[in-house]
Symmetry: C3
Subunit: 142 residues, 3 copies
């Protein structure tokens, strides 16, 4: 498998919480971090997701929001991953920002250049990657 | 808090409709407009969301669709905000379009340059910003 | 109606599966392909969605992930559409990739230039467009 998503994390299912249409899946990453994904119940069934099953969690870079100075706020987004900016590559409108997490994982976010300026994003700056649970795609070995 | 999302709206919770996994939250913006967000029940609990609680609603610009000539259609997207194009900043593939709403709120959308041409987007043109409820991230004071 | 979404597919409702907050809607496209959308129950009601009702399904290009060499994986994303790359238009950070499906439908995805290189995307290459059900906006005649 090769995917265009800049973010592909290996892990295993930690828990599954079921609903009528959607389910919430806790994914334990290899480094011990957790991600929460919301997918349809139908996918839980067809992928036979159960605790301990190996999965990959995929997130496209434009689906990641970056945040700084977050001491004064709590978010509804289930995935808030604190790290350090590793690189910034700018285009005309957008920029791709790579964030290094303490455990060694790297997260890629595409944000506007205006945001890069306003948040002062440059290598070494502390920032948090924010990912909605509904933005995560899960994959299992075929 | 500083976030890369181009759209950050202040408001308060107007209503919460609960489900097994997800909840639908009505947010009343300062100008009286409404936004609908779908977030997980877990977030409703951890943020202690209740009617009257101050929140900020965040939406990244690439998550906003723009529409013109909308008289003949109704959409499943819960947030359709009619306004006027204020500015268009073009890159090679994408363009950032700023839309001014009647109440003074400004909404930023990133769309392709092809869309800018096809919809004839330029300052003064009427357009509607379309945002899925599941694209909205809510924040509360920390 | 004119929308900035690069992907607008005509079809009709094939099935509706209801939940407390969300519903899952099966859309049968004109060529016989299927798309699955997750929208709120409120939208199901206000749009009066029922089997056989004509709808358009809209997806912005940045919400589409591309995949190659997919034989060894199954995804939670409900919409995996196999096709062939028709064109690639590159910007500084992003590229817009057009994929032609067997039935004649064309799908547009915006991915990073790095992904274009890593996946070897160029005209004639086989690739799959992956779309989460929650990324689809449905529209009905107004």
């Amino acid at each position: 498998m090769k995917v265009s998503a800049r973010n592909v994390f290996k892990g295993e299912v930690g828990a599954v919480k079921t609903g009528a249409v959607n389910a919430e899946v806790d994914v334990v990453l290899e480094g011990g971090d957790h991600l929460t994904a919301v997918i349809t119940m139908e996918s839980v069934k067809t992928l036979a997701l159960a605790v301990g099953k190996p999965v990959v969690a995929m997130v496209k870079a434009p689906w990641v929001m970056l945040m700084t100075d977050q001491a004064d706020v709590r978010l509804s987004a289930r995935n808030c991953l604190a790290g350090t900016v590793k690189s910034v590559q700018s285009g005309a409108v957008n920029a791709e920002v790579a964030l290094a997490l303490p455990g060694g994982t790297e997260i890629s976010a595409i944000v506007t250049r205006e945001s890069v300026n306003e948040l002062g994003l440059k290598p070494g700056v502390a920032a948090t990657a924010v990912i909605k649970a509904s933005s995560i795609i899960l994959g299992v070995p075929g």
